[in-house]
């Protein structure tokens, strides 16, 4: 790619802890320029896409994402997302997107109560989002999961609509690509690991593509998420 690098915003709240991983993941794609956005900012600094990184924004007080959702930067992020610009929420970022009402449903305490941190197989269920367009439909990928509250829940009608509209983007599976009780790490409804809004430009997922950027650390399956993000932003 030639020309000016595309600025992509990485939001930092007090308690965000995957900010540097996401910043590096974004910056590893040639043609991008990661830009820090602070939770008190009211200016998106001209960024063309936004990533909400994982962590424990505002200590997860009250509910994960509940307080972050009302921070000054989120007013701008919501406006940006509603204008059809690309927004990616990873882990705590996904929780914030559901609390903000940009994605339906909620993320509850893991059904087995423990915080889970491990590599996790996922199946790509939709390639119709900018973030997954470089994967094959049905492809199996491995991203780490690291969360205590990743149990996705929504009303049955909402789940049916997400399925019917192809908005279930990632599903938890086992190494063979099958959904089993054991392969669902947190009790999520229909083994849902990530969903998109109706336009596909807003994506939230609990697993971490930002921690799957190099085969040296176990997987580089996440690279294509960030390549897709850049193309959507450019």
């Amino acid at each position: 790619m030639t020309g000016t690098p595309v600025p992509i915003g990485v939001v930092r709240f007090p308690g965000t802890n995957c900010d540097q991983d996401v910043f590096d993941a974004v910056g590893s794609v040639p043609g991008t320029r990661p830009v820090w956005l602070w939770h008190k900012d009211r200016d998106l600094a001209g960024v063309r896409a936004i990533v909400l990184a994982g962590g424990f924004a505002y200590g997860d007080y009250l509910r994960a994402g509940a307080i972050a959702r009302f921070s000054p930067i989120m007013e701008e992020v919501i406006r940006f997302a509603e204008a059809g610009r690309p927004v990616l929420g990873i882990c705590n970022g996904f929780q914030i997107l559901t609390e903000a009402g940009l994605l339906p449903g909620a993320l509850m305490r893991n059904d087995r109560l423990t915080f889970i941190s491990r590599p996790q197989w996922l199946r790509i269920e939709s390639t119709a989002t900018p973030f997954t367009r470089h994967y094959r439909s049905g492809e199996r990928v491995r991203f780490p999961v690291a969360h205590g509250e990743g149990n996705y829940i929504a009303e049955p009608e909402v789940l049916d609509r997400l399925e019917a509209e192809g908005r279930v983007v990632f599903r938890y599976v086992d190494a063979a690509g099958a959904t089993t009780k054991e392969s669902n790490p947190n009790g999520s409804a229909r083994a849902i690991a990530g969903i998109a809004d109706a336009t596909g430009n807003i994506l939230g997922l609990m697993p971490h593509p930002d921690r799957a950027m190099d085969a040296l650390v176990g997987s580089d399956d996440g690279v294509r998420v960030f390549r897709g993000l850049l193309e959507a932003a450019a």
């Binding site: 009250l62 509850m108 305490r109 059904d111 087995r112 109560l113 829940i153 929504a154």
Partner: protein, 84 residues
């Protein structure tokens, strides 16, 4: 000053793993008659709004916008109750 108490619980039917674990712990202490244990939140504060109807409206708005998540939780509130 109006004394406000807000009670928040997971909706009925939703799995409450914390509640289940606590019920098992009570059982292991010999309390075998415990069923339907749910863990929730109890939030207390004082609100400078002398008008009762306005105070109630404001508290309800707080619950709907921030204190409870309507997807998974239900709330109740009490104004000027006699709790601790």
């Amino acid at each position: 000053m109006t004394r406000v108490e807000v009670f928040i619980q997971l909706k009925p039917g939703l799995l409450d793993p914390q509640g289940e674990t606590l019920a098992h712990a009570l059982e292991s202490l010999g309390h075998e008659g415990v069923t339907e244990l749910r863990v929730g939140k109890w939030i207390t504060f004082r609100l400078d709004e002398p008008d009762r109807t306005a105070a109630e409206r404001e508290v309800r708005e707080m619950c709907e916008r921030l204190l409870a998540n309507p997807v998974i939780e239900r709330f109740q509130y009490r104004l000027d109750g006699d709790g601790p």
